[in-house]
């Protein structure tokens, strides 16, 4: 690890200011991703501002009937919260499908959103990587790219975003609240948090340096049944090859509408409004699920070893939508 200095922040605004003042400073919360990247020499902050003790670790009901999740709520606490399990089972399921018990106890809500890709070329400092070292090239393009993106990628970078939680939050229309170094606050929709890799894969989000995530706001849950399905190389403790967050509002065998977001296929949770519009547009549920799968994967293309993800994603979408609608597939 490169040497660094350390300070424990006393409030969110002071933390944001402390990082904003130094280009070489970074926030640390749970540390489960950052400490690992620092050991690998991928992240080299000279100064760490510890935000783990900020009083941002509560979950509260908001006035509109939604939930207000502090950025320092641990992944395990969020998954186990009775209100989340009751009204947002999609979020509980996504969290429980990710990482291990130990990691979920340490990882924070804000940190989960900002975790870096697990592309092996990003974490291996001996190989070119545009995300780690802008302009050096993308080793995954012609390399071992089984886990990589089939949607939204560019020749600059084909890495995927590894979070499960973010996929559920995207389907649930979550809003991310932040504070910047000059004390300004703003709310960013999940759909607008992540940047396209073609704009420069080294900057993954629209957050400015020193902008701290303070909370995630969930609006009231959409109507319908929520299902999260994750497909991976082993049954537990592995990142998604493909994951599907689905909400389907179905009554008497008729699909009225729903939500659909994908994980493991792009640099961000992938949500396509055209796919959601097909839900309920066809009289036969199975036909609308197939149409949704085709619409969601529109424009997808593989890079060799990850070609299988396109079919896998379509099948997983059809199956998950059918589960959520309560119809057999």
């Amino acid at each position: 690890m490169t040497p660094f200095t350390y300070e424990r922040a006393i409030d969110a605004a002071a933390a944001a200011r402390a990082v904003a003042e130094r280009p070489d400073a970074a926030f640390i919360a749970g540390g489960t991703n950052l400490v690992d990247l620092m050991k690998l020499g991928v992240a080299r902050p000279k100064h760490l501002v510890d935000v783990s003790r900020l009083k941002l670790d509560t979950i509260a009901e908001s006035e509109d009937g939604g939930l207000f999740i502090g950025a320092q709520v641990k992944n395990s606490a969020l998954a186990a919260d009775a209100r989340v399990r009751g009204a947002y089972p999609l979020l509980s399921r996504a969290l429980l499908a990710g990482a291990s018990g130990q990691l979920r106890n340490a990882a924070s809500t804000g940190g989960n959103l900002l975790q870096r890709t697990r592309c092996p070329y990003f974490t291996n400092t001996a190989t070119p990587c545009n995300k780690r070292s802008p302009g050096s090239g993308c080793s995954a393009l012609g390399g071992f790219n089984r886990i990589h993106a089939v949607l939204g990628a560019s020749d600059a970078c084909i890495a995927t975003h590894p979070s499960d939680m973010a996929v559920a939050m995207t389907a649930l229309d979550a809003q991310v609240r932040t504070v910047t170094g000059d004390g300004a606050t703003r709310e960013i929709p999940m759909s607008g948090l992540y940047r396209d890799p073609a704009q420069g894969p080294e900057a993954e989000t629209v957050l400015t340096h020193g902008e701290l995530i303070t909370a995630v706001r969930l609006p009231p849950p959409p109507p319908g049944r929520q299902v999260y399905r994750k497909v991976r190389d082993r049954a537990s403790y592995a990142f998604a090859l493909v994951s599907v967050a689905a909400v389907v509002d179905a009554r008497d065998g008729q699909v009225l509408g729903g939500r659909l977001a994908l994980g493991g296929v792009a640099h961000k949770p992938w949500r396509v409004s055209e796919a959601e519009q097909t839900l309920g547009a066809e009289s036969r549920p199975e036909a609308s699920f197939a149409a949704a799968a085709d619409a969601a994967l529109k424009g997808a293309h593989g890079y060799g070893a990850n070609d299988f993800k396109i079919d896998l994603a379509k099948r997983t979408i059809r199956r998950t939508l059918a589960d959520a609608a309560g119809v057999s597939s």
């Binding site: 040497p3 350390y6 620092m38 100064h47 395990s76 399921r93 130990q102 340490a106």
Partner: protein
Amino acid sequence: MTETDFLRLSRREVLEASVAAAALGVCTSAAAAPPEAAPALEGAAQPTFEVRFTVNGTPKTLSLDPRTTLLDALREHLHLTGSKKGCDHGQCGACTVMVGGQRINSCLTLAVMHEGDEVTTIEGLGAAADLHPMQAAFLRHDGFQCGYCTPGQICSSVAMLKEVEAGWPSHVTEDLGIAIDLTDAEIRERMSGNLCRCAAYPNIVAAIRDASEGGAL
């Protein structure tokens, strides 16, 4: 000599000092070796940071390079070598300890972040003459072969049963709304953060089941 000073000397320095002493036939002491110079930090107020926490019920104060992980603080500074360094990347679970009663990977957290925390390691769970029920169950069921992952498995499983008791669901819990039935599938899923390369998994599951049914936790 404080606990930290003892290990400030690297193994190589100890070896070099010993070899030099043997070759020269003179007596040297570890303390006579020059201390490793702390790297200069731009804008740094101080190269080390003090952390006060409780480890296995005993208050400890350490002055640490902030790069020191909790695992290294426990092993190298407090000489609690029960917690193991397996992968050092949060993938194997051999370093699992409890902080505030919750299990975490001690390799992925900085010691300076644990000011005021209560840390429990395998040494704090039980001793040879007074085994924790989970340790006794692992012995009874032969829940290990080489034993390297065992302290992490035991710390993890003790904290895991508390999570079950608190009603925390898992990935394999069928219904998020009802009490958890601790099936073997539940135990395996909840213990997936602890790898055993000897593959003693069937006996580990049996030991955890036995300990959980004993109700002695």
